[in-house]
């Protein structure tokens, strides 16, 4: 085993944190949709894939990168809302099992459509700001990684402001706390569900686009992103946004350490080991002390 010094660890830490930011975005989308609509959306990772793919499509149509990214996110928000209307809304009174299976079916169908439209060859997207990597105490950081962390931070800030200081944000939160009570005071819960799906899909799409320059974009990238987002959201018991943020960064860093110190093959197993650890931990009520919000 080679020796590692401080700068190596710093490197792992920061690159892990940037991957973790991706998981945070996807997980928050999941938590958000779950709390407003009660649906665990297993198609969340596919929205990230769609965001990245559409970004590539617009970019190849000679639009500037920023415009392409923005258009892609807007499109995915629309697609998310459309999927909610077409698949979740008609089944809103169906049992939980049916709804989960609907989201699985949606995920598979979307993945299949992407395969049909874009084929199996991976596509690439250029760095947002190409240039030499930034050096920080001996660690070398690609610029795209800084973009990822920065974007995630901005999205979180915007969401915070939206939920705390706008009437619409408060209405969405009311739905999350108690749907029936919200309905009683005149909140359009169906509209809020649609909004939640749109915003959740958009968050995933942003995640997909900012990570696209680092990993190639392929039709099957959604599955693993979605799974990891789910692992992270479970860390917060599906209800806690702050816990999801911490959990996402933690998972990213753990993965980065595992692939750096052990082997890169083990990286994908980390998330699932963490999942089982979290499930076991929740069983033994370890989470009670760590939760930021009341009981679920």
């Amino acid at each position: 085993m080679p020796d590692y010094d401080f700068s190596d660890y710093l490197q792992f830490l920061i690159s892990g944190a940037s991957t973790g930011s991706i998981y945070v975005l996807i997980a928050l989308g999941l938590v958000f949709i779950y709390n407003v609509t009660g649906v665990i959306n297993l198609a969340q990772g596919e929205f990230a894939m769609l965001g990245a793919m559409l970004g590539v499509v617009f970019y190849k149509a000679n639009l500037p990168l920023g415009v392409s990214a923005l258009l892609a996110v807007i499109c995915v928000v629309g697609i998310g809302a459309l999927i909610q209307r077409l698949t979740i809304h008609p089944a809103r009174r169906a049992p939980e099992v049916s709804v989960i299976m609907i989201t699985i079916g949606t995920a598979i169908a979307v993945r299949g459509l992407a395969l049909l439209v874009w084929g199996t060859t991976p596509h690439s997207l250029p760095d947002f700001s190409p240039g030499s990597p930034v050096r920080l105490w001996g660690a070398v950081l690609g610029r795209q990684r800084l973009w990822i962390v920065g974007t995630a931070a901005v999205v979180l800030l915007i969401l915070y402001l939206f939920f705390e200081f706008t009437l619409l944000g408060k209405a969405v939160r009311a739905c999350a706390i108690d749907r029936q009570a919200a309905e009683l005071v005149g909140v359009d819960t169906q509209g809020m569900a649609l909004l939640a799906y749109g915003i959740g899909a958009g968050m995933s799409a942003i995640a997909g686009i900012v990570i696209a320059p680092l990993t190639l974009v392929s039709y099957n990238m959604g599955l693993s992103l979605g799974l990891k987002g789910f692992v992270v959201s479970i860390m917060g018991g599906m209800v806690s946004a702050p816990a999801a943020v911490v959990g996402g960064l933690l998972l990213g860093i753990l993965e980065s350490l595992a692939s750096g110190l052990l082997s890169s093959g083990i990286k994908d197993a980390v998330a699932f080991v963490v999942l089982f650890a979290v499930l076991l931990g929740r069983t033994m009520n370890l989470g009670e002390h760590l939760r930021f919000r009341g009981r679920s």
Partner: protein
């Protein structure tokens, strides 16, 4: 629930089984090509998994996205025990099944103490771990390229070689699986499961220990999958991680959904329909798209799953039988035929 959900009178049930056995016994007289027979064998094998899955999804109300992993554990258990250790296939099969049940139990313990839908993700993650493990543990599993040279099942010392003989063997297993499942559903255990599915708090207040019931159902469905996996391994005389990946898990869920989640009887029909659909798609898709990758089928799987869950949550068979009854059953049909010129 509908009449198809297993609450048939005992006489009706045995009539149904007798009809099924007769049809299955006579089917090879019509479908004699090796292709048709091997398709029927596969339908039988997957029906066993789907029947178990129906118990889990329809009665315990839990989705498993890792059923293929249990199938794989059975297949690889049989494969490794019979090739590396030279056990008899008939001994390897139950031993693998017991091992798989224990694994299912261990996964279920942490998951079922939680409310909600954690099982879907837990089993999905478990399925992926098993696939990774089977491709990495190369000394015993042969890695991604698989493990060849599995002996065939024997009957009184002679190996079962023909598809026809294997067809009867597999369907004998499937019928037994069906009868056991029907009995489970109609027993005290099945009633407890239905109570849990309809309302967990109500069931709990009646003294039903929810997690224990769910756990035992998961283990039972895992045993079903494991036995089917063993049968598959001895039929193909080869196993590979591809034969038990996420794609299979999803197809199994689809089969159960098409047949009707809470319909044990629907399971074999759902299985047959999905397998036939796969065969048809394999012919059609290369004509529609330039490149003939088999994976395009997943669009149809996904869309079908969504449509069935929205419009026929009780499965195709329930919808068909409801329409049948609405039209007045056999009498209605006769009347309609007579009225027609």
């Amino acid at each position: 629930m509908t009449a198809l959900s297993g609450r048939w009178s005992r006489r009706g049930r045995w009539t149904g089984i007798a009809t099924l056995v007769t049809v299955l016994a006579l089917l090879p007289l019509i479908l004699r090509t090796p292709y048709a027979l091997s398709t029927l064998v596969l339908i039988g094998i997957y029906s066993i998994v789907t029947i178990g899955l129906c118990l889990l999804m329809g009665y315990a109300g839990q989705v498993s996205l890792g059923q293929a992993a249990f199938f794989g554990l059975g297949a690889y258990g049989s494969a490794i025990l019979t090739t590396h250790l030279r056990w008899s296939p008939w001994l390897a099969m139950p031993v693998s099944a017991v091992f798989t049940a224990i694994v299912a139990y261990l996964i279920g313990v942490p998951i079922f103490r939680l409310h909600g839908h954690y099982l879907a993700m837990g089993t999905l993650a478990f399925g992926i771990i098993v696939t990774i493990f089977l491709s990495e543990w190369k000394e015993y599993t042969g890695g991604p390229s698989g493990l060849p040279g599995i002996p065939r099942l024997t009957l009184r010392g002679t190996p079962i070689k023909t598809d026809l003989a294997y067809y009867y063997l597999v369907w004998a297993f499937a019928i037994v699986a069906l009868i056991i499942a029907l009995n489970v559903v109609d027993s005290r255990f099945g009633r407890a499961l239905r109570a849990i599915r309809d309302s967990e708090p109500a069931a709990q207040s009646l003294g039903i220990e929810i997690s224990s019931y769910k756990l035992r159902t998961l283990a039972l469905s895992a045993v079903y999958a494991s036995v089917a996996g063993s049968l598959h391994a001895h039929y193909m005389i080869f196993v590979s991680p591809n034969a038990c990946d996420l794609d299979l898990s999803i197809r199994l869920v689809l089969m159960a959904a098409v047949g009707g989640l809470a319909s044990i009887w629907g399971a074999p029909f759902g299985t047959a329909l999905v397998i036939l659909l796969t065969l048809v798609l394999r012919e059609i898709i290369p004509l529609l798209s330039g490149y003939g990758s088999g994976e395009h089928q997943i669009i149809a799987y996904g869309a079908l799953l969504v449509v069935i869950m929205i419009f026929m949550p009780q499965g195709l068979s329930a919808t068909v039988s409801r329409t049948w009854r609405r039209m007045g059953g056999l009498d209605g049909l006769r009347r309609r035929l007579r009225r027609a010129p």
